[in-house]
């Protein structure tokens, strides 16, 4: 028997289904890697690679990040707009550090390579934000 205000449980479930499909339809999987080199305390080279996954990634989504999108669905543009936030997110996930230092006749040179290994991310695009989650 429906109340005069309507069936809340039914309408909520319909809303949830619509939301789920809207997220699922605009979801995508991306492979992201990041690497930069510092020589003698000065940054030398930086590379951020973003690519669509060619085949399905397996794993559970973890470490979710929300980025503002301005209704854009281009991940490269979204990341470029939220550069600092996204980089801090990658740093939290874990970085590989390779450091070499050489002192010849008391003259020191050093090279540090910071690498974020290629990881698959699930990205859900929405009206105002994109939800990024690392698949582990």
């Amino acid at each position: 028997m429906r109340s005069r205000d309507g069936n809340h449980a039914f309408s909520l479930s319909i809303c949830a289904i619509i939301l789920f499909y809207s997220l699922a339809l605009s979801a995508g999987e991306y492979l992201i890697s990041y690497r930069y080199i510092v020589k003698d305390t000065i940054i030398y080279n930086e590379v951020l690679n973003i690519s669509h996954a060619m085949h399905k990634c397996y794993g559970n989504p973890s470490n979710i990040l929300f980025l503002e999108t301005d209704s854009s669905k281009n991940l490269k543009q979204i990341i470029a707009k939220n550069d600092e936030k996204f980089r801090n997110y990658l740093f939290k996930l874990g970085l590989q550090i390779e450091h070499q230092e050489e002192t010849i006749n008391l003259q020191n040179t050093s090279t540090t390579i910071i690498t974020f290994k290629t990881t698959c991310f699930k990205v859900d695009f929405n009206e105002n934000f994109a939800k990024i989650a690392a698949l582990k």
Binding site: Y36, V38, T41, I42, I43, E46, N88, F91, K92, L93, G94, L95, Q96, I97, E98, H99, Q100, E101, E102, T103, I104, N105, L106, T112, I114
Partner: protein
Amino acid sequence: MKYSIALLTLLSAASFAAQTAVTKITPMPTQKVNPLKTSCPKQHETSYLQSAVLKQNKQLLISVVGQGVAPTNTSSPAQAYALAKRAAVADAYRLIAEKVKGVKVDGQDYIKNMMVKRSTIRTFVSAMVKNANVVETTFKEGLCEVEMEIMLSHSQFAQ
């Protein structure tokens, strides 16, 4: 003849006895060791080791300050800041890796005709660092300093 030989032996014995007497009178100066000075560093070392050891059910906070310099050919102060910060973060990560994982050191000296011709020291650090946090960032006169912290717990290293 016999008397002269006996006299010579007596004289030589007397001179030897006199020499030993002289050496006894002037002893060699001995170096005194201050017991306080030798014991102090040991106490300091043990206290440092106690604080650095990661105990069970306790967490260890490691804090480092990384430094980075902006390149000379930057187009704006903002770009200089961003690049210097990136270099400083890399330095801080390296310091964390050095503290947690350790450093491999390799040294080589080339000596020719009793002179050092070439002295080389190489150090290597390789580690994976997760969950490090930037606490504070300062940028003054082209030098960026980033303070980073990482919390270590015993369970992360338990096998």
